[in-house]
Amino acid sequence: MSATRGNGWTGVLALALIALVLAFVPLVAEKFYVQFFAKILIMAIFAMSLDLLLGYTGLVSFGHAAFYGVAGYALALITPQYQAANFWTSFPLAIAVSALLAFAIGFVVVRMQGIYFIMVTLAFAQMLFFLFYDTKIGGGNDGIYIDLRPVARIGDWQPFNLDNFAHVYYLALALFVLVFLLLRMVLASPFGRVIAGIKANEHRMQSLGYGTFWYKLACFVLAGATAGVAGYLAAVQFGVVNPEMLGWHLSGAVMMMVILGGMGTLTGPVLGATVWMLLELWFQDITKHWHLLMGAFIVLTAILLPNGLIGLYGSLARRLARNHD
């Protein structure tokens, strides 16, 4: 287990190393792949946020894309036509919108259990989806363009330019590292230990005097806000938001990434998102019927790997350790 969860400084060191390697991508790869890796980083953030609920708190949210999409729409709606929004105001605002939405929905749903929790989160996400899809609030079902990407200027100082695809990549990388460290910190803290306790046995925690409802709600809000980070970045990268960003297909896809990668860890969802997107790209170049390959891969992984891909790494590590004895 300790091989999969970076203990203390080993984990942080590993992260720093990976981040350093990733920092070289825009210097060696061409534009398409830089943007592709940026997309992987965005999905990794999204997946980590969902694992906070799925793996750590035991709350299976099937409407998580709502918080992702709503942040993107927040940016799109706050961007004046033919002008650019300010990054330093729009980014916190988008996160705040996601967090507020998560608080509102969470307040209602977090008291529910099991399959009913799953379906109620889906219900609220679908309601939001149809709000954007069937009305003119969000520009209808073709979505909204973000003509000009946000400008990151304070007075005369502009640290980066989001019209430059490499800068978008570095922003995504920086946020990925920040989110990873932040979530790690939260999960290792006393708060995180209560969450783990709630997942193991909520009644016991309640009998110990913990207000489990508020802990679960706090987690739900944190997960929603983090998903908002990913959604904002996605809107910046693509320059267009559409209702599918809130849809259940996306909620389902990111859930698959988390389960595939391995729940209950932070590296699992990152691995799941990376593998998923790389396989999609690779399979699509092989055959028109690439869904068959993807589907077969998923079925086999689900059957053969009881802890997802990260479990594979764990068991390999254990086998290596055994061979050393």
């Binding site: 399959i115 109620v120 679908q126 698959m256 068959l292 009881p306």
Partner: protein, 298 residues
């Protein structure tokens, strides 16, 4: 809306609800009783429709094709349980979701390879291919009445088998405590296999008999999938009675939501936001009864 039209819309809603029940019944069995989350449920609805279409074209008769298609679906269900599903019983629900999600992709591609991507159509089979006049402009297709009758028959049949027969008793016991049932000498593995195959076959059967009045096309399983889960959840896990009532509620809400005009505080709610009605209904019911209408509290 005058009373005459109201009655007809009521009929529309009930008929749609009954068909929903038929499609969701297999999911009630598999999910409610076996506890297996099969998100590929919609794929079997699609497979049933395509089987009906292709076999009817080859055999020349819908009624001859139907039993063949049902038999094939049962075989597919048994094979799938043996190959894939039986590894998942002891696993976390989410791995079942992941696995069956992969199956959706596989089945969609197999459908494309076997039957292509064109939109297909199946004529309504005789002797039901006529309509009864209801008003001077509107008629009602008799086939829809027949489908409704079949759905009701299936509802009663399921209820009877599960609540009143020995097999049903074993199934219910196995759902509550698998190991105990096994230790009593009952082959729980066989029972699970039968129930799973039955669930698959029910979904396929729904696709088959709905095919003449729907469009046999790629992606037809996806639309139906989410509604099925909504039905099962509103009704309460494992309750056939609940699934039936939930289906009727959804059928009525969906139908009337499309034609009723509702405005609150200047905001046009219906029929503009009619897509939302089902989800608002589900959220409302779950907040009132957190285990669904007739589900057991977790």
């Amino acid at each position: 809306m005058d009373f005459h039209i109201f009655l007809i819309q009521l009929l529309n809603g009930v008929q749609y609800g009954l068909l929903l029940f038929l499609v969701a019944s297999g999911l009630t069995l598999v999910f409610g009783i076996m506890g297996i989350i099969n998100v590929a449920h919609g794929s079997f609805y699609m497979i049933g429709a395509y089987l009906a279409w292709s076999l009817a074209a080859q055999v020349g008769s819908f009624w001859l094709a139907l039993p063949v298609a049902i038999a094939l679906s049962v075989l597919i269900g048994l094979a799938l349980e043996w190959l894939v599903v039986r590894w998942l019983y002891k696993r976390d629900h989410l791995y079942q979701v992941l696995c069956t999600y992969g199956l959706i992709l596989v089945f969609e591609e197999l459908r494309s390879v076997l039957w292509g991507d064109d939109v297909r159509s199946l004529p309504i089979p005789a002797p039901f291919n006529y309509s009864i006049p209801l008003t001077d402009t509107l008629s009602y297709p008799v086939y829809r009445l027949w489908i409704s009758a079949v759905c009701l028959a299936v509802a009663f049949g399921l209820y009877f088998v599960i609540q009143k027969t020995r097999l049903g008793m074993m199934i219910r016991a196995g759902a509550t405590d698998r190991d105990m049932v096994q230790s009593l000498g009952i082959n729980i593995q066989l029972i699970y296999r039968i129930v799973f195959a039955a669930g698959i076959a029910l979904a396929a059967f729904a696709g088959m008999i709905a095919a003449p009045i729907s469009a046999v096309a790629p992606g037809m399983g996806n639309h139906v999938l989410i509604i099925c889960f909504v039905v099962v959840v509103i009704g309460g896990l494992g309750s056939v009675k609940g699934a039936l009532i939930a289906s009727l509620m959804i059928g009525l809400v969906d139908t009337f939501g499309k034609v009723v005009h509702l405005e609150l505080g200047g905001v046009k709610l219906l029929p503009e936001l009619s897509s939302m009605t089902v989800y608002v209904l589900m959220a409302g019911i779950l907040l009132w009864r957190p285990a669904g209408l007739f589900g057991k509290k977790l």
